[in-house]
Subunit: 319 residues, 4 copies
């Protein structure tokens, strides 16, 4: 560290990203994402990390391994050394979710200063989603196309009505800042949006998730798979391995699985019981529903671990 | 500093704020602000500052003077030691501006999880604002009430239409996250919103400003005058003296005013000319418009300073 | 949501924390932590979350379950609704690590304005730590007390020398801001430090970790176990279950464990081989060292999962 | 706005900054600053602002005027669109001040992982500064060189002692994380440090200020005058005109100066008296010292405004 690396005189650039710079990548019916600029690359992450950890990074032989190590252990600052600047067009409805990510720099088109974009997101007849019974998920399946066609027709009517009111207000001389007040949330807006890679990965982990709303998920998926994957391929691979594709076992799950693993089902059962997971309904005789136990069972199923209370139930059913 | 102040065992509380805790303070036609909780008071600011500056604060005799000194010099961290938590109901349109202040903690009602509030902001016939000619200001004056009555009638129609579509979608089983997509921006939303006092003063300086949009200005003014003024009165007074009520003179203005002050109008004129403020239109013979010169003239007028090029123009006009 | 809860007029308070407010809790040889103030409690987290998720929270029967759900899914904003303000005395060396957590409000004693605290952290003869061979961990075991006694003696000498130089400079009239320049990093400093609970839990997860340096770990452990545990007990329990006590399995580990679980060791081996984990040293014939494989093996061992390449090695050894 | 600017396909670059990329720019006796990378330029600020303000920017004819307008009105987000990444070597003492600017991304050399840089900042005999009497300023003038020479000699002794203790600890096998604990604050450290331009200007306004400590001021001045001035010349000029070179008049000063300006000294006096500025010492008969009044007098003097109480005093003195 004591001698600055005088040889590093060129700004990092990424050919694969330069190739799509400024390109309009469509999302939804009238939205888009464009890469405007970026700073840094996989090597810039490594460079910053080696400043920090110095000799501590020597045991990590190559750049890819170091990036994996950093991401796995949630070292955030080296990833902050990269920045991505996008130009996006998004329905305000999705933008309201997007903007909740505070560690960003944003310049959104102001409809105080300018007339609103003459476009609102429309829903094809086959894309109306059913309300999920479970409250945890927003939607679940699709409505029948016939029903959807009618909904799309009324949507178009409402859009036209709202737009006519907007135009009329402007014609009457109403201030733009007030005229816009009844535009539908589906109205498109545009923004320049800049974020560092650490925060961008956090954004992607939340917004590419299956629980994210379909609209913003479409944007996040494009940003992840089409942009970040080209820009910082080693980081993108590590992100999928250690973040979006990871499975977190709680302390209770660890204890239960470990007890099963060493052949001590009684201990596994004891831990579950203490957590309140094994209450039996006096009415049905079955286990009372428990969100945490269900999730534990799902993890166990994935890993091929048989939980003692499941074994018992299976036996009971077989009887 | 070396001995902790063992005597400080009580949490600071402010009677004037406790008196209105939880009270619904109405804003606009159906909005409100309520104080949910707070942390710290004027004394807590002083306490933190004295930790920092220690002997450096001894020359400032009393708490009020220290708070004025801190605020004037933009020392921000002592003011961060206070927090305010509000429950607000705001039209989404204004909320879109509000949420741009990133240094806040926010829990907004999700219309993915819940049905949207059945209320949108309505405009009385006499409150329709005219578009300002100057682009710098959003609105300028009001439309005639007769015109306004018609605009309000159509606004009500659109609200009813949008609400009917929303209800119909929900009835048809459309997911809430999708059904909401065409609600008007005027729809009310609610949130818990927490911010530290330093950032709150910044919020207020922007949103109480005469250039802020009327709707958010109504909220900011209430928060400032009804809440912050009770909570931290010394800080509020200092804020008005050194922030919202201050006048900033640019380097050029300083040089020009100082030259005038010491009786050197030629130097004043030279500085203005170098800044490009004294270009003469070959067509009209008058000075070409210049935003910066106009603002300089406004400051000079307020301070009773006569600028040399104005004197000349006055003489010319008198001729 | 549509009617504000007018009944909530009292600020939340926590008896268990009020009982220790202002109390000096010692850390290291001359450091301390004191609770100065706080905002919110477990119920305030729930209150904010219910504003956000509304009907979405109804399926979660009680407050404790909701807090567990929020923390497990990394919902951060409800936890931001709570704040903790501490008065701490910390060696500058540890403070340099502490201050890297940016989402905090800090007022540190300035040694520009005040004379530095006349105390530096001393190391008892039995507490000198050995450099770890592995670079990942800072220290590993202790030096022999005899050696340590000599190190402590020289430490005291250096402290005395540095302090004498500092005092001499002040006596000679050197500015405090310059006189302090050669104080040892072990010199104690004091600060008021405020952080919201979301960021505090992040701070604790990093600084209570076994890889954190012993000194800052002592502070973090006290803050976690003595302060946060009293303040927000349900959150603290959830934090231990889902954060500090959790085990994260990477995408590769999931695939390998799942393959083993369903009785497909060949697939498990294939995934490991593709990840580059099963390279054999041509020299020794054993598997080449791989950090990621070692960690996978450790997780497998904890869960009682036998990895195919380990079985083979065990067989080979038995032969 | 409705059509993305497909023509913008090149990343912005600044020749004047590219010319010094990676160059070691010395500061203090052994410190430096190097530009590692940057994002954006003056045009990128304008580009982002025009997205936001759209038609609202049309009245501002050229880029330079728009940048001046944005900076004057403290529009911050367009300036956030630019980033600067530096490699710096700084004494830890100055770094402790530097790191207080939280809106930065930092990777500092860790002396847990690496051996500390073998260099501490030394003070030449002629550079020992005297403690200021006034507490507001840190230092005031210099000590005599003879005295300074002795101070520098003792400084070198202490550095050598501290370094010998450090080396001895490492030789004895003490962990690096513990061995470093008594290094002097003057020890150099290195870091990669990245900040957006909005926050960088704030950093510069505080750290280039005459009240900032000489050491960090040296770094800030170099960053401002040698780097930012080349990178974004229009922004740098605007910064000097509207920020670092501006004069802020408080509400009280405005009222007093305006009263004087319109020939109403009684009103000016009334305002000053109400502010408590005109208290007369019963002992001396002169005005009691007041920081705010002194500052008002300084501003008045600069602008050539005669304050009524000064006129009176001058008259009294003349008598």
């Amino acid at each position: 560290m004591s001698q600055p690396q005088a040889e590093r005189l060129q700004r990092p650039r990424v050919d694969a990203l330069d190739a799509i710079l400024g390109e309009v990548m469509p999302v939804l019916d009238d939205g888009f994402v464009r890469v405007v600029d970026y700073m840094g690359d996989d090597a810039a992450i490594v460079q910053a990390a080696r400043v920090s950890y110095g000799e501590g990074t020597k045991h990590v032989s190559d750049d890819r391994s170091l990036i994996r190590y950093l991401l796995q252990r949630r070292h955030s600052t080296p990833f902050e050394m990269c920045e991505l600047k996008l130009h996006v067009r998004v329905p305000m409805d999705a933008w309201r979710q997007w903007i909740r990510h505070r560690m960003a720099s944003v310049n959104e088109t102001s409809t105080r200063y300018s007339i609103a974009i003459d476009s609102a997101q429309r829903t094809p007849a086959a894309r109306w989603r059913r309300q999920a019974k479970s409250n945890r998920q927003g939607s679940d399946g699709l409505l029948q196309p016939a029903k959807g066609a009618e909904l799309s027709r009324r949507e178009a009517e409402l859009h036209e009505h709202a737009r006519a009111v907007y135009r009329d207000r402007l014609d009457q001389g109403v201030a733009r800042e007030q005229a816009r007040k009844d535009l539908p949330l589906s109205t498109y807006t545009e923004a320049y949006w800049k974020m560092d890679l650490h925060n961008l990965l956090h954004f992607l982990s939340l917004r590419m998730d299956s629980h994210a709303q379909e609209e913003i998920r479409a944007y996040a998926t494009l940003i992840g798979e089409q942009i970040v994957a080209r820009w910082v391929p080693a980081t993108w691979e590590a992100f999928q391995d250690f973040r979006s594709g990871a499975l977190s076992l709680s302390r209770l799950e660890r204890r239960i699985f470990a007890a099963v693993g060493r052949g001590d089902p009684d201990e596994a059962r004891r831990v579950a019981a203490e957590a309140g997971w094994l209450k039996v309904s006096s009415r049905t005789g079955a286990l009372v529903r428990s969100r945490e136990r269900s999730e534990c069972e799902a993890s166990a199923a994935e890993l091929g671990i048989r939980l003692p209370w499941q074994v018992q139930e299976a036996v009971a059913e077989a009887d």
